[in-house]
Amino acid sequence: MTEENKFEPRIVAFLCNWCTYAGADLAGTGRKEYQANVRVIKLPCTGGIDPLFLIKAFERGADGILVSGCHPGDCHYNSGNYHARRRWNVYKPLLEFCGINPDRIQFSWISAAEGAKWVETINGVVDTVRALGPFENYQKLNTIGSDTSVSSETG
């Protein structure tokens, strides 16, 4: 593998509008650098993240996922992150049970003031997933059969 072809993971980050997104923004305004592998999707609240979003992200070629929101007790909508925490507590083991590496789906709480924690977290996710390699198992599912439109979507 040449240097140019080195695997760079695609990370999809689902961030809540009020804390982690603002935290990531702070990292930007603070001129902090982090790895550019992440595609951020801003949502109102972690409580509104349907587990299907994660599956869809993998379907469309994500190698790793980060879900991040406000610290417990800090939710803009009071309890959204508590409900989210319940969900992920059962959903993650389910995906693990189906053979998806737990390091490909990570969760964190990052507040609007924690630009540095955002940098550290996202770098951590990128490095872990880079070491795991591309999520070939899932990506191969897309190419089974003759439907080629799928592969162009993921490209």
């Binding site: 599956i55 319940r86 992920w88 507590n89 059962v90 959903y91 083991p93 709480w109 599912l141």
Partner: protein, 281 residues
């Protein structure tokens, strides 16, 4: 026991306590039964009870065709009765709108169903009338309840993936699993929605994974382990393993068992401030 069942059904219909009795009737061969809907007292002899009464009849509580028949009395085993507790809790049913004929059960199916191995509801936990001698319900430990999962949880990540892909690729997307499930009651399922299309409708491995994972997840903290999904699956996918895994995580994390206690808050509709933080950074 059958006599007592018929007598009770006759009495309920005669007194107009209920309009219809959902029960088990004889099938085309002795090893099979079929659901029957008795509306006239003279028809109660069609009711039967034996170890082949595998169905969870509570699934008809969500079917419009059955609901049209009026207020039901329903014959339930201990496992099926748990469904009613969940349906009431989820505001799908009012307790006074249903008459529960509980039957004591020592295991069904031949060979016996997996769910019967660690059965702790031989006598239903909820009923208006109990048919059969009351059986002292056994108690099982957490590990005993989920022993079936051990051999699958032990597998490596690669083996797990291969095992489940081999299972999911058999799926023909017939949706029998959700049609039979008494707790899959959404009028429009997520798979019916196509703007956006969250789950690929064709029987392709990609959509099969998202369907099977989503179906199981939508039952997290709700499934009462009646194993009907697995029984009806024409592709023999061990769907109940997924349900059971979720039940195990729900119990481990939230100390909640679906259908056991009507006073418990629904696991996925509530939260505690001290829920596990283990997976969060």
């Amino acid at each position: 026991m059958i006599e007592a069942l018929r007598k009770k059904a006759e009495e309920l219909l005669k007194n107009k306590t209920v309009d219809v009795v959902y029960g088990y009737g004889e099938g085309s061969v002795p090893e099979r039964t079929r659901p029957v809907f008795i509306t006239k007292p003279e028809d109660v002899n069609k009711l039967t009870w034996n170890k082949y009464c595998v169905y969870n009849l509570t699934t008809y509580l969500k079917k419009q065709e059955a609901r049209k028949l009026g207020k039901p009395a329903i014959v339930v085993k201990g496992c099926d009765a748990k469904t009613i507790t969940v349906l009431i809790k989820e505001s799908q049913l009012k307790r006074e709108d249903i008459y529960i004929i509980g039957v004591t059960c020592t295991g069904i199916g031949d060979p016996p169903a997996t769910k019967c191995e660690a059965c702790d509801v031989n006598t239903p936990l909820i009923y208006d009338e109990l048919i059969g001698e009351k059986i002292e319900n056994k108690e099982f430990s957490f590990d005993e309840r989920y022993a079936e999962l051990d051999e699958y949880e032990k597998l490596s990540e690669k083996e797990k993936w291969e095992f489940w892909q081999k299972q999911f690729e058999k799926c023909i997307k017939c949706y029998a699993c959700s049609s039979i499930c008494p707790l899959c009651f959404c009028d429009r399922c997520i798979v019916d929605k196509n703007q956006p299309q969250w789950i690929d409708p064709s029987a392709h491995p990609r959509g099969n994974l998202s369907w099977n994972v989503t179906r199981a997840y939508h039952l997290a903290g709700r499934c009462i382990n009646c194993e009907e999904c697995q029984r009806v699956c024409p592709a023999d996918i061990p769907l109940n393993l997924l349900n059971k895994k979720l039940a195990k995580e729900t119990e481990k994390n939230f100390k909640y068992r679906s259908g056991y206690n009507a006073d418990d808050e629904l696991a996925m509709a509530t939260y505690k401030e001290d829920d596990s933080e283990e997976i969060f950074k």
